[in-house]
Each structure stands twice: as C-alpha cells, then as structure tokens.
Subunit: 373 residues, 4 copies
C-alpha cells in the first residue's frame, strides 16, 4: 500500500480492500463465522458463538502490535486468536474451533480476493464498454494497419477497438469464473478435520454458505486454485497492456490518431500532451507476469504445510491484485476519455495506400460486438 | 530439443511432436488445408487446391536451409510459401490465398500444441490415476502429517495421495478445456480478411473444421488465449511439483516412507537409492513459471502485428510444453512405481503421537476420489 | 508497506527507509541539493538556493494529497515542484533548475536504495558472521551429507555452515559494489542538459558530490544499472534461501540436527517447534526472482523516456528491497540463534556410515573462513 | 537447439557451442583432464591417465543412447563414466577419480559457458562498435527527443546512439568479468574431497589450471555464481532490447528516421520494409528475464546436492545463453547496417521545435565514447 503511488497506478480503489485493516477484518470475519458454523453443528455452545461475535465487534485491534506479535508464530492468526479469546471471556475456549492458522488465512484471503476482485471486474467491464463504444462509433473509420511498425494495409479504427474489447471481455469472463469458485479452507492441523470429527465437513459447508464462498475439501497444499487465480490476474493485466500500448503509440506526435481526455504535462515541458493514463496502465501491467510467476512457482508445498511457499503467497497476491487492478483502472480512464482523430487517420493512411478498402472490417466489428458476453 | 537431456527430463515424447520436422509438417498442413478451404468457397480453382496438396506430399524440405532462409523475412512461412509455389507449378499463384505469415504460424502452433497436449493430458491422467491407486490402497494407512517440516498430527497416506490426485486432475481438466478451444487464425495482412472478401469468414470456418480447431474471428494481436495456455501449462507443472516434492522428502533416508521402483544410483556412491524420477520431475516443473511469465508478458502486441512479442512466443511455447510435459511424464513414472512403507510410517508416527486418529481422513479420500472428473 | 506483514517477513527495518515519507524526503533532498548545485555554478542566484532550502525545511507535505496530485502528470515530482515553488516565494522560479521529473525520481531512488541498502548489507553481514561462528565452532562436528535427499557420506556441520557463509559474503560484496556506484541522474527534458548549458556537467558533478552519489552522464534510458541492482538483490535473496532451506530441513523432527532459539508454536498445536525465522526467510526470498524479472524486462525504454517501463521500476524496486532485505533479516535471526545438536548428527550419521571421515572438511572450513572478504 | 528457429533469432553461432555434441565433448574433456590432474599428484598412475586420454579420443559416443542411459541415474555423467571405463581397459578403474557427477557437470558447464560466452562478447562488442560508429558519425545530427511517445525537445542522433553503445559496453564488461571467473567444481560425493585426501585441493588446482578455469573450493550448493551469470546474461539481453526497440520505433513508416540494410518483406505485402533484425533481437531479448528468474530461484539447493534445483539449471542456462546471444547477434546485424536519415529527422524535428539546440549533446557523445572500456 502506498498513498504516494497507488493512485498514480490506479491501485487505490483495489488497495483500499486489501490493506491491513481489511486483512484484519477478513480474519475476524472468518473466526466469527467459523464459531457460528461450529455452533450450528453442536461443536461449541451457541451462546459461545454469540459471545464471540459480540466480542469481535468490540475488538479494537492495534494492527502494528498484531504485526509484531505475528512474528513469533509466523502468521497473524495466532495472536489474533489470543486477542479474541481474551475478549470473549468464558467463550474464549470456543474461539478457533477445530481450525489451524492456514484455515483462517486461506479463507480470509479468499474473502479479500473476492472483495478486491469486484473492483477489478468493474474496471475491466468499464474499459471493455469504452472500447466497444469506440468500436461502434468508428466501425467504418478508415485507418492504416501497422505490422512490425510499418504501414501495411487499411483497416478501421472500429476493428482495432473491437479487438481491445474482446481481449478485455475474455479476461474478465475468465477472472469472474475463478472468483466465483473461491473456496473456504477448513482442514485443521493436519488437514483431516480431526478436531471437528464427525462434524468437519458439515462445519465447512456452513462456513462456506455463510461467507458466500464455495465449499471444498481441504486444499491446504493443493494450490492449483492459487495458480489459476494468479494466471487470470496476469492475463487480465495483459489484456490491458495491449490497448494501452496501442494508445501510447497512436497518440505519438507523428501519428496523432488518438488523444486522451486529460493528457499529462511535464515538469519541464508544459506543452506536452502525454497519454498518461495509458502509460501508467502499461506500467502497472508490466508488474503482473513476474508476480504471477512467483505464485505459480509456489505450488510446491511440502508435506501438509509448506515452509515458506505458502507464506510467500500473501503479499504477492495483494501486489498482483493491485497491479492488475491498477492496469484495468488506468486503462478504463484512458479509453473512456479517448478521442479518435479520423482526419489524422486519413492523412496517415494516404501515405501508403491509395484506397481504404478494409475488407471484412465492419462485419468483424459487428461480429465481435455481438459475441460479447 | 536435446537428445541428451530430453529423456532425462521426461520431455522426449512431447519433444517429438514439437521438433523442427513437426513445425514444418504443421505449416505445410495449414497451407494445404487453407488452399482447400479457399477452393471450397471459390476463391481459388479446385484444381489448384488439389495440385497444391499433391505438391505438398512430394515436398522434401531441407529444414536447415529453410531456417536460414527464414532469417530474411523473420519467419519460416515466407520461404516455405516460396517452396510450395515452385513445387505447385501452375497452381503456385494459388498458394497462401489471402493469408499472412502470422495466420499460418499461429494456426500451425495451435496444431502443434494440440499434438503435444495430447501427450501431456495422457501423462497427467496417468500420474493422477497412480495417485488415486495409492490413495485407495492406503486410505487408512496412518502416517504423521508434517507442517513447516515438523511432525504435527496423524493423517493417512491415502489422504496425502488423494490430494496429489486432485491437483493433477484439476490441472488436467483446465488444460483440456484450453486445448479443446485452440482456434485457427485467419485475418490476412491487416486482420481484415480483405484479400478473401467476401468469403473470409467462410474460408476461416472451413479451415477450422478441416483442421479440427475452433473457429474464431482474427485474434492476431489479442493474445489472451496464449496467456491462458501458458497459465494452464504452468499450473500443470505446479500440480506435478507438489507430489514430486513430497516423494523426494518422504523418500529421504531418515523418513523412508516411500521409495521409487527404479531409484537411481550415483557415479560415486553405488549404494544410493535416489528418487530420480521425482527429482527430475521437480527440475522440469521449476522451469515452467519463468517461461509462463515470458508468455504472459508478451501480451502487449503493438498495432496489428507485434514487433517481437509475437516472435518470442514460438520457442517459449515449445519450451514450456516440454517443461510441463516432462514434469508430468517423470511424475507419472515416479508414482506408478511408488512403494509406500507402512512400517516406517508407523514408526515415524510413534515419535510424536500416541494414537493414530486421523479424523475424517478416510472419508475425505472417498470424497476426493468420488469427485474425480 | 504493511504494518501487519512487514515484521513477519523481516522487512520492517528496510521498509521504514522506503515508505512514502522517505520517498518525499528523498525527492525534496534532491530538489534542494540541485538548487544548491545550480547556484554554485551561477545558474540560479545563491540567495534563491538558500530560500529554497529554507522553504523545504518548512514544507509540510500531505502525502495522500501529493499522491492524488501525481496522477495528472504521471509522477509525484510535478506537484512537489509546484508546492516547493509556492513555498519558496520569489525564489520559486529557481526551483527544479534545468531538470526533468525523471532526473529527480531517479536520483531520489538512488538515495533511497542507498538508505535501504545499508540495512541489507548489515543483515547480510550479521547472517554471514553467524554462519562463520557456527562453522568455526563445528569445524569438526561430524554429520552425514545428504544428496538428492539421501544420506551420502560424512561431512562436518562446520563445512555446511562455511558454505552458507561464503554465499552470504559473496552476495554482500557484489551488492556493496553496486550500491557504492549508485549515480545521480541529470539530463533535463531531452537528456541533453540543454537548459543548464554550458554548466550541465558541472552542476551534475556538484549534485553527485553533495548527495554522495556517483557522477554520471545521463543514463535515463540506459538501464543496465537497474538490472544490475535487481540482480544483486535477487542473488542476495538466493544466498539467504540456501541456508534457510537447510535449516528448515535439518530442524525437521526426524533429523533434529539444528533448532532455532525462538521456534514458533501453532494456533492448533502448542507443542510445535517451528523454525519460523528460516521459514519466513524462505518466503521472503521466494518473492525476489519474479520481481527481479520485472526489472530486467523493463530495460526496453523507448526513445528518451519510456512510456511505462520506467514507471514500473519504482514500486518493484521497493518490493524487491523489502523481499531481499526481509530474507536477510529473518535468516540472520535464524542463524544467530541456531543451536546445533551433535548428538543427533552422530546418531543420523550412524544410520549409513560406519566411520566419520570427512576428508578435507576441516581444511576447507579454514580456507573458506580465511578467504572471507 | 532448432535448425528452424535458431538462425532467425540469431542463436545459431552460440547454439553450435551448446549442442549435445558440445556437452559430451566438455564432459569428456573434464574427465580426461581430471585423470591427468589426479595423476600429477599421484592419485592414479600416470599411465592410466594417458590411457584414459587415448581412450577418450577414440570414444564414439552415441548421444541418443547416452541420453537414454542418463535417465536411470539422473545425469549423463554416470553412463559416460561407464563408457570411458570400458574404453580405458585396465585404466578403467582410474576414470573419474574422487569425483561425483556434479563435479563433472558443473565443470563442463563452466567450459561450455566460456565457449558460448566468447561469441556473446564478440557480438556485444560488434553491436557496441556499430553504435559508436553511428554516434561519431551523427554527433551533431539534430533529431527530436521523444518522451512518453511525444515529441519533446531537440537532441542528436549521435547522443541516442552513444547511449546504446554505453549500455552494450557496460553489459559486456560485466559479463566478461563473470566469464573470466568461471570456476572448476571438485568436491567429491559429499563436497569434502574425501576420496582424494590429502591431495584434493591440489588436484582441483591442477584441474583448474589445465582447463583455464578459476580454482575454487567446492561450491556445489553455493550457487551465487550461477545467479550472477544469469543476471549478467539478462542484463546483456536488456542492453540489446533498448536499441532494438528504438530501431523498430524510429524505422516506423511515419517516423522513418532509420532503416536497416536488409529489411524483411512479408508473405502478403512485398512492399514492406520491416526492420527484422531489430524485431528478432527484441524477441530474443524478451525471453531472457523469465529464464534468469528460473536460475535465480534455483538458489535454494537442499543439503549437499539439490533434488531438482541443480538439474533445472542445465537447459535453462543453455536457453538463456541462446536468448542473450541471439539478441546480441541480431542487434549487431541491425546496427552494423543501420542507415540514419537526417532529412527525416529534420522534418520531424520541425513539427514541434523551431530550433535544434541540443545543449550538451555533442559533448556528451564525446564523453561517452571517450569513457568506452
């Protein structure tokens, strides 16, 4: 989190759902809901679950102190459970029933990813809608296609923008599918639900229902879900990088075929008209592949709890959500305010092409827009 | 491709479907099928399509010469088209109708990925089946769960193996979905299908049908598909890394809970019993995330043909298929021959646990095996 | 920055030198020193430089507002210069003389990297010293070497620890060399120092001298230095990952050859003795390679200022410093409190080896310790 | 290795020094030289070393068979030693004295890297010299600087090219330093040189001397050297990516400020003038960061021989050498034939700037060229 840089890279809205306070809120929500689920199946007294819920609402967590206390055991759940137990009084012994730290961390992370993911889906949709608007408006606006940087043959700006839209829609659909399947984690110390026996699966199912997450058998060391999430985020960042790159190139002084609504100036050259939303969208998107690689490489969890690979996921996932979310947000700003300049497109087209026959371009625009999810 | 290293890392079977000759075969197949599709819709004479098909069967391509000739234009399609035109005599003018190099490269790559992907799916299934066999056989075999390297509480070897199976199945299902949707690429020089107008979409549909690929509007610079493929391969590699890591650890001398059927010896210590299939599976899997990151980062194609990002995909995709395929193949060997040693499991368990109550372990095994796709 | 997670991953000390306030302080320091350097060479009045320095000391920057204002132009220098100009009154026109935003950002980043780098060097040295202490104390303590997870032949714990020390020393020396060469950036809008002509190089040299950075011709789009820094940090993280991995493995219940001074417990198993410092060192180190890859990939700056690649460096560099710094800090804690257990080493050794002849092990320890930088 | 793709991406010259035959030659060279070094210190009879050398010259290794035989033990050294022992007759027992497979693999890899590295240094120098030639020739040729894609203020093409030169020189110097320090590896089964006691260090020193590698204590699990090599290669690729990117952009139809000597055509548009050398240099360079990340992540070798991390280095290092080498080779071709077009530069400059005052540009060119290593 950075108040200085997050807005610049479009990450402020996502970051607000991933900050320390959000993590604590998610961890507490998991503990409270777990207690309720355990009570539902008679694992703990219902009155204890209620007392825990009430204690949680009154809990005033000093995040910095919690962070320092987390060092000893290697995660913030251990000291948080201690706080909750103290706050819950007689119900303290019923806090964290049958669970292990990873259960709470993984389930809280699923909640957070869902919260932040909503913002991402919204910005991906907004960017795609803006691209679709440009595609419809410029369905037949001729421009020169460029391949390997060289003028090639005619196309239309509408087809270019329709291609942007398709990529953004595809990435959003794939991400939405992953987000909709985010599961709870509940396995207990060894992943066998032993401490909840014979109510383990039922408690997990109730926990999932109440947190609006998917139910799942323990997946504590089976991390394909994390890899799929990381991939969907990196693909989304890539889907933003393509139009952002085109905007930067098309806005170049010599091409001048598009311009942003609020181009940036410069500390030394006030006359500059920099397509700064697209520039910062590209910057944010560039961070995603390396972060995704860290998460993909972290699949090799040892035994029944990884000694590092698991812990490496937490902040990397935050960072990746901020990078992909930032790219989507900045691209949306760029595209929602993007002006196309058909005169410049025509002039550039005339450099190498006597006619402007763009083949199936218009039909392809119609097809791509009709196929939108 | 390496005759020296591919077998060692399990990549030989995949590599045989990705070698230079396979690339040439796929490129030729695309050109021949494209000519037939064009003839079907009256774009070129049917007799020309037949002549091209016959010429292709007689074509004796010198791969090294083709590789050298590819330097000039930046891809092997340009010189291959030249060869085909010469070989096709009067029909030469009908070779490569309405297409651009990227159409042929991308469609050929889809074919190759499909061919290599079959091997991968087969090995992922084989490895998962082996894991499922171990899970069923050892549903109730007690062992100690280990978290952060420390003995924790009892589980069963069956549940451990069932977790391996689940990851492998999930990765295979996701990969199969991507492979089933591999599309043709046909857009022509500017992505507008101008040179095939008004038959462009119909020719593309016929091409897709005949090559058993999905039909699609031109996606030449919309690379979410490549990112999704890369991700599915990296997730598959990760799903192999988890059990391979466990096998290496469980086979350690002090634990001794599993052993491979054909452990390797050493050039200096003939008595060693190295779990070499798992070791090399891990090695292959470790290469996947960085390769996937290269492909995810290559989403930022400029304009209507990227000046480098596209070209960077070809060999990276080959390498990633070999890495993921190698991991699956070596893991399959490891798991198909894996022996579990319940006596050692019991002895280790006794170090820290008086009983062997594994909670829901057996039920979870049943559930995970019942949920197999 | 995260108060919740930074302490856990050893990043708090480094993070305190990289937070938003540190960035603002560095940016202001560069502007003040640049004005002084410009005054020294008669580019601006000396009295203006003094007024700017005084105004800077009184400047009360609202970081969140600055962050929001940075969005428009794409970096925080533009609004900061505006603030400084307002604060400096008549001297306002002399603020930011001859400079462009990148000059100030790059030079400030060099300052920050230097500040954070000191912490990193200190922790790398502390960790190496602790390893050296273990190596000297256990020069002749027999243990079994393990290769591919299997017991092999005897070595000594001293030689193992000496190897840790060597890696940490090598990484520290390489990083120190990079840090000692961190340069100023001063090129102006086009990298030609035009606005400072004919005093440009002299002003740059004074700026370097006063900020204790290296002098350099403008390197605004020549980013090998960033790549070298990223690499040195990732190598340092790797040098920490090796001993951290060994500690986790050697501390495993069945091996029991080492233990940390303050092992962590668990939220579900209070009896656990988790080597949590080593675990979190591994977690931090795992994040470095992907972050380094982002920086290495960002070398392709376009023209005279990159449209995204440059901006992608800022937070990635922060994150990489935190990851590498965290690994060093946590490893230092692990090694400074590490207890070796010769009895367990002897017992394990006896499993596969009748004698404990460790060849040159003792001599190699002496050699490695004697070669320490 | 790919006859189809290596020439296209400039990797053929490097690849010829990294192919299977080169690996076998390097492995054999290490075994022969090791026997001679062992004989020099009386570890084996001198007559045996001679017999081994003679047997090696007659050895006709079937690489594919060796590759298949390598599967069992996990590396090609084990079956190669078997072949050599058979070929050496009575001297067979003296083959591979005191060594383990990793000694031979690591030392052979050092040889191979040195061989391939020579090509890389040569191409980096060639590219830098070409850039220096352009810088000198166009020291005062005015052009517009572009920042964030927008025209900014005047510079000279000479200063742009001098910046390219500086990056290439810096990368080459750093790589040369790493290559000059490539060491032998000799530690024996446990890294203690036990089987050579008391002659171990002396044998290692002789081996280093005869192979022209650096002497070193065993570094089998201390992989900072591998990380440094990977980094230097990735930085070199990045130093190539910058000028390649500029060439692609400056050669764009609308800018037209440079052109390659042998631009590529297209399969569909014969009139195209694609800067294909720069395009393929970019493509090759893009593969480097992900490959470097794999090697940087592989630092976490377990115990005294890593169970996968070590094996993952071999082909990744080959691939990275081909990627970086290819980028250097293709960039050299691009720059050696690059034509600058001052008329187009002047015309573009006139779009936004009334004068062409490039400040210190000429002086900076002189300084950068004078500082060349």
């Amino acid at each position: 989190m950075s108040a200085l840089f997050d807005p610049l890279f479009g990450a402020d809205r996502v970051a607000a759902r991933l900050d320390d306070a959000s993590w604590v809120a998610a961890l507490v929500a998991v503990e409270v809901t777990l207690a309720q689920a355990a009570a539902e199946h008679g694992v703990i007294p219902a009155v204890h679950a209620e007392a825990i819920a009430i204690a949680a609402t009154k809990l005033d967590v000093d995040v910095a102190a919690l962070g320092r206390a987390a060092v000893e055991g290697g995660n913030p759940v251990i000291p948080l459970v201690r706080l909750l137990r103290e706050a819950a009084g007689d119900a303290g012994s019923s806090v964290h029933p049958g669970a292990t730290s990873q259960d709470v961390m993984d389930t809280a992370a699923a909640l957070l990813v869902g919260w932040a993911g909503e913002v991402l889906l919204d910005d991906l949709r907004g960017a795609a809608d803006a691209a679709a608007g440009l595609a419809a408006a410029h369905r037949d606006t001729p421009m020169i296609a460029r391949t390997l940087g060289q003028q090639a043959l005619p196309t239309t700006f509408g087809l270019v923008a329709a291609g942007w839209c398709t990529g953004l829609d595809r990435a959003r659909t794939a991400l939405a599918r992953v987000l909709a399947a985010l599961p709870v984690q509940l396995g207990g110390a060894a992943g066998t639900l032993a401490a909840l026996h014979p109510h383990g699966p039922a408690v997990a199912a109730s926990l999932a229902r109440d947190l609006r997450l998917a139910d799942a058998a323990p997946w504590h060391t089976e991390r394909t879900r994390v890899g799929e999430l990381a991939s969907a985020l990196a693909v989304a960042a890539g889907a933003c990088a393509k139009p952002a790159t085109d905007v930067v190139l098309l806005a170049g002084t010599e091409l001048g075929e598009v311009s942003e609504a609020a181009p940036g100036d410069s500390s030394s050259m006030p006359h500059k008209r920099n397509p700064i939303a697209a520039v910062t969208a590209r910057a944010a998107a560039r961070r995603a592949p390396g972060l995704a690689a860290v998460l993909l490489a972290a699949a090799d969890h040892e035994h029944q709890r990884a000694a590092g690979a698991w812990h490496a996921e937490w902040q990397t996932l935050d960072d990746l959500l901020r990078a992909a979310g930032g790219a989507a947000s900045r691209l949306r700003t760029s595209l929602e305010g993007l002006a196309a300049h058909p005169d410049r497109m025509a002039a550039n087209l005339a450099m190498s092409s006597a006619d402007s026959d763009a083949g199936h371009a218009g039909d392809l625009v119609d097809r791509l827009l009709a196929e939108r999810p």
